[in-house]
């Protein structure tokens, strides 16, 4: 590409065009120079291997969209490679290491959750139990205080006193 001398450029649009061309040229040569170096020094990634993997993937995908292909079938009701079948919920029975009870494997996690006092439901249960106790106590004291006796609770009862 011949480079026009500065005097030859007359119009603004030619000037702008020239500037753009030089910038574009510079960017292209930049990339070319870097690629040239990478290739000559053998630093480029093994693109062949990557393309091979992509090709294998594309083929696999094409084959799996074929309806005759079994694909990811639900294996819960099949025979495993050792020739065994298993129930959907694991039926092995063993002792809980926290409380000692016999538990079925498939139900072990929910049992353990309550057993260890972890989890949402277990915690809610315990707080509900505590609330019930508190309310019982307050009705007793109300009744007693209404009855006018200074002694809150233990000695004389009007028959409605309950174990706190």
């Amino acid at each position: 590409m011949s480079l026009p001398k500065v005097d030859d450029i007359h119009t603004n649009s030619e000037l702008i065009s020239e500037v753009f061309n030089q910038l574009l040229d510079s960017i292209i040569v930049d990339v070319a120079s870097e690629c040239h170096r990478i290739t000559k020094l053998g630093l480029d990634r093994n693109l062949d291997e990557e393309e091979e993997e992509l090709r294998l993937f594309a083929e696999a995908r094409a084959r799996s969209s074929d309806p005759s292909h079994s694909g990811e079938s639900n294996s819960k009701y099949v025979v495993d490679m050792f020739g065994q079948t298993h129930p959907p919920i694991a039926s092995e029975i063993f002792n809980c290491m926290n409380c000692g009870r016999s538990i079925m494997a498939g139900r072990f996690a929910p049992h353990l959750e309550k057993c260890m006092g972890k989890g949402r439901k277990a915690r809610q249960k315990s707080t509900r139990a505590a609330q019930n106790q508190n309310s019982k106590g307050s009705t007793v004291s109300n009744r007693l205080s209404n009855g006018g006796s200074a002694n809150a609770g233990h000695e004389y009862s009007n028959g409605t006193y309950e174990e706190a």
Partner: protein, 592 residues
């Protein structure tokens, strides 16, 4: 240049001999002719004229009014003659060469040698060394002090001697051959289903992957964690999260490594009926009490949690805390721990702040928007090019590559995710970084790279997208292509640094020239954990590769599957192991 002299000398004959990997060596007579004229240290004088621009690009120092001697053209398309420093543009540099027989010039903008006669860019070790020296003089990049490299020792195969054979015969019993199946010898060892205890597929999937993680499996199979010794040592140690035990003696020994060892023994002893990892669940819930509930958990979270549990327990047994990232603390870290390097570069002056952080796995983002991914990556790289004076054309090239290969199929790939992970990222103007050299807040570029590769690389794909606007999370089901073998070399710090400084022939990092690093950057896939379904109700399955055959581990059901099924599965966590393992010199001398 004196400090790098000893690096240059041994390499000189390598670069100049005919057997080098540079195919054009025999075709650059002009460069060689020049070298013979200039004698030793041919480009020493040029070194003073090389300047390194802020983001690593080398350039030739020049005056403001530099122009072509013949036509007055101004940079960037100028060349300076190496022999006489005459400046010519691309058009006229050849005529200068003809007149003066000065064939070699240097591109003023890019600091690349150009042979006018051959009309091609040429490369020279000494010139590159000069560029590297110019760069290193400003910013030496020291690796972390605690990462001392252990000298590599050769592998020596071992067979037991007579005394050892007697010992083995007396104290061991061979495993019985498998009872089930017509061809018991063909069943791989250690393959056994795990019962679902109630929404515990997340646990089963990770356990299956770990049971067949070669270095981890070998450690436990070799009885390197022995539960009798472990219990004996820990009779008095109170566990950290022992909320329940208090005076309860049955819960005193909390050791996830022991529990894992129990599962491993169960898997390898030959019984093929599904095993219930109940004790492991119990121990884990004691360790990670905040995660203890009967609901579906995240497999990745579980993975991190149990490695942490194994680490915590095993680290307690040592007197001095080992350095981070070295992997000497416990088997979990020795297998999975790598080191990530993070560079934050000031775009004004190039000052770089480098930090090293240990990591157990690498979490990767999927592309933000699959449809426009090709467009957005082109946009961002173009923006970077125009804004920074150092045109980061390397990232343009990388994007072009991933665009080319993926554009035809427009799929996400693991390699693409890793490219994105190690790409220089421009931090927003609201995240200005305080540059110590400029003493003001400046816009910066951040780039991640892998300083040290772990023995086993676990890649976690962030498939769960949280939208703060809608206050909900959703799962990204997009296919991700992952290779069965991967070369991690392009993501190493040494490679990233090298490309940042223009891929010069000399290392910026002393670890790079180590030949073993080339081989040990090759990884093989051995386990894939997949997730199907959505956030609330999903199912985890693990695919294992044993002796180049894939097996599907779906809780209690183990079946053989072919490659296709694995290739098209929705990967959530992928486990790769180094193809070749090297032995480092032992720190303690072994008797006999």
């Amino acid at each position: 240049m004196s400090s790098s002299d000893h690096k240059i000398r041994p390499n000189l004959p390598y670069i100049n001999s005919q057997e080098t990997q540079l195919p054009a060596e025999s075709q650059k007579p002009h460069l060689l002719g020049l070298r013979s004229q200039l004698g030793p240290s041919p480009f020493r004088s040029l070194q003073d004229h090389i300047c390194i621009l802020p983001l690593g690009r080398a350039s030739i120092l020049r005056g403001v009014d530099i122009q072509c001697g013949s036509c007055g053209l101004r940079p960037p398309r100028l060349y300076a003659c190496v022999s006489c420093a005459a400046v010519e543009c691309g058009e006229h540099v050849r005529s200068h060469a003809e007149e003066t027989s000065h064939h070699v010039a240097v591109d003023v903008d890019r600091a690349e040698l150009f042979c006018c006669e051959c009309g091609d860019q040429v490369y020279d070790g000494d010139f590159d060394a000069a560029v590297v020296s110019a760069a290193i003089g400003d910013r030496p990049v020291p690796p972390p002090e605690n990462l001392k490299k252990r000298k590599r020792v050769d592998y020596k195969p071992w067979t037991p001697d007579l005394k050892e054979q007697a010992l083995i015969a007396e104290n061991t019993t061979p495993l019985p051959t498998s009872q089930l199946g017509s061809d018991p010898g063909s069943y791989p060892q250690g393959l056994r289903g795990l019962s679902n205890l109630g929404n515990t597929c997340f646990m089963n999937s990770v356990l299956q992957a770990l049971l067949h993680t070669p270095p981890l499996r070998n450690y436990f199979v070799s009885d390197l964690h022995n539960k009798f010794y472990c219990e004996r040592e820990n009779k008095t140690i109170v566990t950290r999260k022992s909320e329940l035990n208090k005076a309860d003696s049955k819960n005193v020994q909390l050791c996830l490594a022991c529990d894992f060892d129990a599962i491993l023994s169960a898997a390898f002893l030959g019984d093929r009926m599904p095993y219930s990892p109940a004790k492991f669940l119990y121990s884990w819930w004691q360790h990670a009490s905040d995660l203890a509930s009967y609901q579906q958990q995240d497999a990745h979270e579980f993975f991190i949690s149990i490695l942490d549990g194994i680490h915590e327990k095993l680290q307690k047994d040592r007197y001095k805390p080992p350095s981070q990232g070295s992997g000497d603390c416990c088997i979990a870290h020795r297998v999975f721990s790598g080191i990530l390097r993070s560079d934050v570069m000031c775009t004004s002056c190039g000052f770089t702040s480098t930090t090293y952080d240990p990591c157990i796995d690498i979490s990767l983002d999927l592309e933000p928007n699959q449809v426009d991914s090709a467009k957005t990556s082109a946009k961002t790289s173009a923006k970077t090019s125009s804004k920074t004076s150092a045109k980061s054309s390397n990232s343009v090239k990388k994007d072009a590559n991933s665009m080319n290969s993926a554009q035809n199929t427009s799929i996400s790939t693991l390699v693409g995710c890793l490219d994105r992970f190690t790409r220089p990222e421009r931090l927003g103007s609201d995240q200005k970084f305080f540059c110590q050299k400029c003493q003001v807040n400046q816009e910066s570029l951040k780039q991640m790279s892998i300083k040290k590769l772990p023995m086993v690389s676990c890649f976690h794909i962030k498939r769960f997208e949280h939208s703060p606007i809608r206050k909900m999370s959703r799962k990204i089901d997009r296919y991700l292509q992952f290779p069965f073998s991967i070369d991690m070399a392009p993501y190493l710090s040494s490679s990233i640094l090298k490309s940042r400084y223009g891929n010069r022939m000399f290392p910026f990092d002393e670890d790079e020239q180590d030949a073993s690093s080339e081989i040990s950057s090759q990884f093989e896939l051995f386990a894939v954990i997949t997730h199907s379904g959505n956030l609330d109700a999903g199912h985890y399955v693990t695919y294992l590769r044993l002796s180049n055959q894939w097996y599907k581990c779906d809780d209690a059901w183990i079946t053989r599957v072919n490659d296709d099924i694995v290739r098209t599965a929705q990967g959530y966590m992928m486990f790769y192991v180094q193809k070749m393992l090297y032995y480092g010199e032992s720190e303690t001398a072994v008797a006999g």
